[in-house]
Assembly symmetry: C2
Homo-oligomer: 174 residues x 2
């Protein structure tokens, strides 16, 4: 039996996936766990250079992240994916492959994400400078039954992280 | 400090990389280590679908394997790469990124590899049915200073595996 598991964040750009993944990573490390965060940018650099943002390329990118999470999980590591992963079918495909899979939906109203515009990407997307931008010109399919649903406009990151940790304890993973 | 390390096999198709990686994996598991074998075929399916065998595509494939080895190694896993990895510069690039890196050159005379033809690939390569086949129509650059050099035509796989394990002990990794 592995002690690893995968925390799969999903949500719009600016929802707070990276912030939450860092907080959860810190807490898990403090508890002596090995943790690896796979954020979208790191993976695009190291695994998916050359892939674009068509549905097919996004699916390929997410499948690769999923495979790395699967390998880490079976080796007792906590893998945290913090990519947008907009398509439900691919997320569910990855869930099927990983025994201990915790999907965390980081929900945020689009207008809040646009107001935050953490990376300045919504401005460009709304101006048409970035094509196929999730939430603006590409779909986002919310999870139907995630292990944890975060309302990122109503909770602080610390509150959300605490809820994720509580869920991991309830599942017996911590 | 991590307890992980990377064993990086390199050698022609048919040299015995997969056989050796299985023997070493078995011994390491018997010693209670977490081990993940990344063989060329598994990685081409999961990380590098669509890549061909041009120098550029091979380099990309090997860099991806290297990155997964790096991630596993820093998480206390023993990563074993069993891909041909014909180009010296890329192997050395990966060595720079991984603290505990053990290069194992599985040397075999080309005529022995052709006689074995484990996967039936040399026959096709020699008939021109496979292009850019390492050793036949694409170069193989042997390591200049590998941690272990195996003479796969002169040693049994068990002898070779024992020498690899002895080296890992000498390095203090076991």
């Amino acid at each position: 039996m592995t002690t690893g598991f995968t925390i799969w964040f999903t949500g719009l750009s600016g929802a707070g996936k990276s912030t939450l993944s860092e907080l959860v990573e810190r807490e898990l490390r403090a508890r002596g766990r090995r943790v690896e965060v796979l954020d979208g940018d790191v993976v695009r650099t190291n695994l998916s250079k050359g892939l674009g943002f068509s549905k097919e390329d996004r699916d390929t990118n997410i499948r690769r992240i999923g495979w790395v999470c699967e390998v880490l999980t079976r080796n007792d590591v906590v893998a945290i994916s913090a990519a947008i992963s907009p398509y439900r079918a691919i997320r569910d495909e990855i869930r099927e492959k990983i025994d201990r899979f915790v999907e965390v939906f980081v929900d945020v109203p689009l207008e809040v994400a646009i107001a935050r515009d953490t990376k300045g990407l919504y401005k460009k997307a709304l101006a048409g400078e970035i094509k196929q931008f999730t939430g603006v010109s590409d779909p986002y399919e919310a999870p139907l039954d995630p292990e944890v649903a975060i309302d990122s406009a109503a909770e602080t990151p610390a509150q959300s992280a605490a809820r994720i940790i509580a869920k991991l304890e309830a599942l017996g993973y911590l």
